[in-house]
């Protein structure tokens, strides 16, 4: 339908709203540190833009784990660097006999993470929401000492977003959040990956037709992809290789 025809129909109130088109292609995800200087491409469509500190933490780590946040629960803070059992902060215990990590605050257990058989995470990278941290554990197990922590952001790039370059009257939302045009075209920044919500883009195509596109994004899948990408990077760095698709700053 041409633009003029649609406007005429809209004016007399008989225009049908355009049908929603669901675009279920995988979205690309960027993990972005505070001052990104090094770029790594994982095979699963995730690109990590790291600074020296976060790259250093991942290079030292034996393993990356994600600490899940239960829905609607308060997120306990990570400990200060050098602390291991700080009151009011998260504590991560490694139990070599049980082969798992136990996360608690004080004496209150929060969650437990099973480790792959035979894995002894003496140096552990922990991802929780917008934080990346490095913990070290004594060989006999017990609470880990917080060595470093830093922030991460996530930039979600909609698949085939270049098709919107010449669209008009465009509005977009991700859940309750209203998105700018530049976000739709270049990427949507999120401070926490588990807050990513399905995106809905509406507008008028270059040919004058109204459209509604819906991207049913799954935050759990994206979070899993992000952690897998960091895990892949850790394994590559541990093997002494500079990852393929990597680019470094000064």
């Amino acid at each position: 339908m041409t633009k003029v025809a649609w406007m005429l129909l809209a004016a007399v109130g008989t225009a049908e709203p355009p049908a929603e088109r669901v675009i279920a292609l995988p979205a690309a995800l960027d993990i972005v540190a505070a001052v990104p200087r090094f770029r790594f491409e994982a095979v699963n469509g995730v690109v990590a833009h790291l600074d020296a500190a976060s790259l250093g933490a991942l290079a030292l780590a034996d393993l990356v784990v994600r600490i899940p946040t239960p829905p609607a629960s308060a997120v306990p803070p990570m400990g200060m660097p050098g602390s291991r059992d700080e009151p009011g902060a998260m504590v991560v215990d490694w139990s070599p006999t049980a082969g798992r990590l136990e996360v608690r605050m004080g004496t209150v257990p929060l969650t437990a993470i099973a480790l792959p058989p035979g894995v002894a995470p003496r140096r552990l990278a922990v991802v929780q929401q917008d934080r990346l941290a490095l913990l070290v554990f004594p060989a006999v197990g017990g609470p880990g000492t917080w060595v470093w922590s830093g922030g991460l952001d996530y930039v979600l790039r909609l698949p085939e977003s270049e098709q919107y370059a010449l669209c008009r009257e465009m509005t977009a939302r991700a859940g309750d959040r209203r998105l700018e045009r530049s976000e739709v075209l270049q990427g949507i920044r999120w401070d926490q990956v588990d807050r990513i919500a399905p995106v809905r883009v509406e507008g008028v195509s270059p040919g004058g037709d109204r459209f509604v596109h819906v991207y049913p994004l799954d935050p759990a899948e994206l979070e899993d992809r992000a952690v897998r990408a960091l895990g892949e990077l850790v394994r590559t760095l541990r093997a002494g290789a500079w990852p393929a698709g990597a680019a470094g700053g000064r």
């Binding site: 292609l25 085939e160 098709q163 195509s205 270059p206 040919g207």
Partner: protein
Amino acid sequence: MGVRGWRVAVVPIATLVWAAAPEAPRRAAAPADLGSELVRRLADGDVGGAVELARAAGPAGATVLRDLAVSGPPDVVPVAMHAWNAARWEIGPGRAADVVPLLGSFGAASVRAAWDGFLASRGPGTLAVVARLMDTAGFQEGAFRVVPLVLSAMPPIEFASWLAACEDPAVLAAVRRLLRESAERVPDAGALARMCETMLLLWWYADVPSVAVRGWAFSRDDAFVRFAAAAVRRGGLEPVIAEALRRLREGRADRAARGDEILFWVRVAAAAGAGDRIRGALRPLDVARLPARDAAELILECRRLGLADEALRLLEGTNVPWLLYLRSSLCREAGDVAGADAHLEAAFARIGRGEDLDQAAAFETGEVMDRAGDVEAAVRVWSLIIDRPPHGQIQDVNALLRLARVAETRGDFAAALAHSERALEISRDLGAEQTLIGPAGQRGTEWLMRAILELRRRAGGAARN
């Protein structure tokens, strides 16, 4: 003015100004201090006033405004650029009529500068001018020739932006037709890629696949597969894939072109997530007609798409040795070891018997195996080629050189030397119609003699060690 009223005679560029002058609207004389006045207005943020002043000054105003946008005072450049981009097609010196003589002598070095000037002044609107010339008798071919030049003058987003903002449906239709018809005549993958990008930006999805398949035919560049796949996905054009394959089956495309296009559509289906559209769209005969390399790629694509059963169906009843080999690989992957061995032996038997299978076809089978990383099978084929009559052919030399390469890779320099010396012996007796060519076009026998000397040195070193 309608295009039928234009002067279409080819005239020297020097007379162009004179020819256009009587039709040009009366313009105000450019003030001597035009540049400084434009700078003052732009610095004050008075873009409208600056454009008005430039317009009143005619071509001189356009030139001064463009120079300010490119190399004006730093604080004025951004505003000047904005003003120039907004107004250059209104105030530029080129008018539609000016392009006619240029188009008539397109390609001549003498008009190149004038063309550049016209493009600079008309910007993306040049495409619309050229599109309208398509209706002018005698200029249609020229219009097609000029399209690559115009498209290479600026990024596709500029053309697409201009067209998206154009409110005249006749202009849009003319440009769309120009791009579509040019695609059938422009033998330039770069221009075809720019057409695809422009069409995708404008959501002209239905036009993209046919342009992309032309680009693929010239370049075999995967970018064209991505263009077509994007158009198929965004435009919901999945049925186009099966339809294109059906037309290929029934069409008059030659063997090489058919192979190219079949591969293109299979890859598009894979990239667009529409692999199921291939199921049933091809016949065993279509695969049997493909060159060995294309057939192998097609079967590989089917495997990647999870259509191994469809690939097996396409290879049913074949007695072409490379297809028998591909069928054997599929059976082995599916766990049918007996079937795999039987098909592989059938391929070797077909090559060993000779009969109606020429040496080149036998050699191709070895190449398919080698590319698949199955060196053992390839070595067996190359050995069969050497053993079977007719002897002393160029394919015997090729097979011996392949065997020498494998032996060298395995560190068996003595065997590599023996194969190479025998290849040299045969190549010296080849008839005039068969010539051995070395890497990078070197004379084959000379290159081979140097390779033999190197192998003798290495074989001697290996023997001493």
